[in-house]
Symmetry: C2
Subunit: 224 residues, 2 copies
DNA sequence: TCAAAAGTGTTCAGGGTACACCCATGG
DNA sequence: CCATGGGTGTACCCTGAACACTTTTGA
């Protein structure tokens, strides 16, 4: 390190992850109760500290993996929170990330061992620190991105019905969507391919299974 | 500080400011040549280090003020860049901000003393580190926000003509706009008030002067 | 035969875009 | 009288939203 850098103040840097999940058909968020002061016992986001030998993005991935066992999920940086006294325990600059996962795919045991709970977004408790701001920011970003990027498909099985896809959009957007309009847009999108397969688990009649094809490059977007 | 925090790695945190400006009718960016290693002599963004007793946002404001003498300008956090080796001189985590200013209002002497130059966006040189990513991100954010938030009015004099307003939008959006359609949208927007004043400096005929009124709360938006 | 989910088209309104000419004035 | 910038209205298209009934089949 050159002399120029030596003299500057240094900071603890953390990542706080807003982990959204689909938990029996509803949008939920992974929260834990803090196990140490300050604010011990208060609900809070999943956080961790950045280490010297990892990038900030990698720190976020590590935290997500530790908690859920999942890799390669939709994960984005939301904002960096750097107020001087945002954490009363110490000066900590926190980079907030958000992820959206399928609760069924993650590793329950990991979540349990971290004393984390899935909480329905409609019943979100008060959170410590500036975590409420983080959740608001993250949710706004999630809704925006979800409606314009093909995030949904990483949450569905490889083959899915249009009803499943629509329900997923409805949960995230937080509103109901007209079935015919929805299917019209799907039909116009070359990335969503109908297969010959039929799913009979949800109805007597059976529903056509579709597949997402991202090989279409820049066209692999789906804007509901 | 509780014992819990003591053991964590600490980082130098910087802010890098992408300062866009309107310089004789074109979108420009404020750049400087690095005066120390690594990458001495390379064009780079305006940066500074966060200090222990200031928030990250305040650090960005301080850097902007030091460079331009301006306060209360449109200034937003863009993204945090945290790759391990993004700065070959040391591990530095950098929070990127962007600002858009009116070049005529700032303090030239400050800029000069920092050896900073306004460079037309069309002629942007190669930058050191990950500064090119920062500029791309910042420009994308600026265009998005400029088209949906009333940023323009802080760059214009208190009274302005519709031609001035339109030219400003054209410069930032980087495309030309139909005059009649533009004026139609202005007319529909209650925040842009026509005054009785006439500006005769730009034409023989004279142009009506308008004023922005942000007292209309949530309606004080102008979406071109 | 009925319950439960799948599937299917049309209409309408509003917003966005394209487009060309007259006006006022100072020099 | 002319050069310069200021100012104005309409037609069309396309997208997005609203809306209800038929089909299939296992139990």
């Amino acid at each position: 390190m050159t002399a120029f850098y030596r003299e500057h103040d240094r900071f603890i840097v953390s990542v706080d992850c807003v982990i959204f999940g689909l938990y029996n058909g509803r949008l939920s968020i992974l929260l834990t109760r803090r196990k140490f002061e300050p604010e011990m016992g208060r609900w809070s986001l999943m956080g961790g500290f950045v280490k010297e030998n990892e990038s900030v993005d990698d720190a976020a991935k590590r935290v997500l993996f530790d908690l859920t066992g999942l890799e390669n999920v939709f994960m984005r940086q939301v904002h960096t929170f750097g107020a001087v006294d945002r954490d009363p325990g110490a000066r900590v600059i926190s980079v907030c990330y958000c992820a959206l996962i399928n609760v069924d795919e993650h590793d329950y045991k990991r979540v349990r061992s971290h004393d984390a709970n899935w909480i329905d977004m409609a019943e979100m408790p008060e959170l410590g620190f500036d975590h409420h701001d983080m959740v608001e920011n993250a949710l706004r970003m999630l809704k925006r991105r979800f409606a314009s990027e093909p995030i949904a498909f990483s949450l569905l099985p490889r083959f899915f019905t249009l009803t499943q896809l629509q329900q997923l959009y409805e949960v995230v957007v937080g509103d109901s969507i007209d079935k015919r309009n929805f299917r019209k847009r799907v039909a116009e999108n070359p990335c969503i391919e109908k297969t010959e397969l039929i799913d009979k688990t949800m109805s007597r009649r059976g529903a056509a299974l579709y597949r997402y094809n991202d090989k279409l490059g820049s066209q692999s977007r789906f804007h509901i």
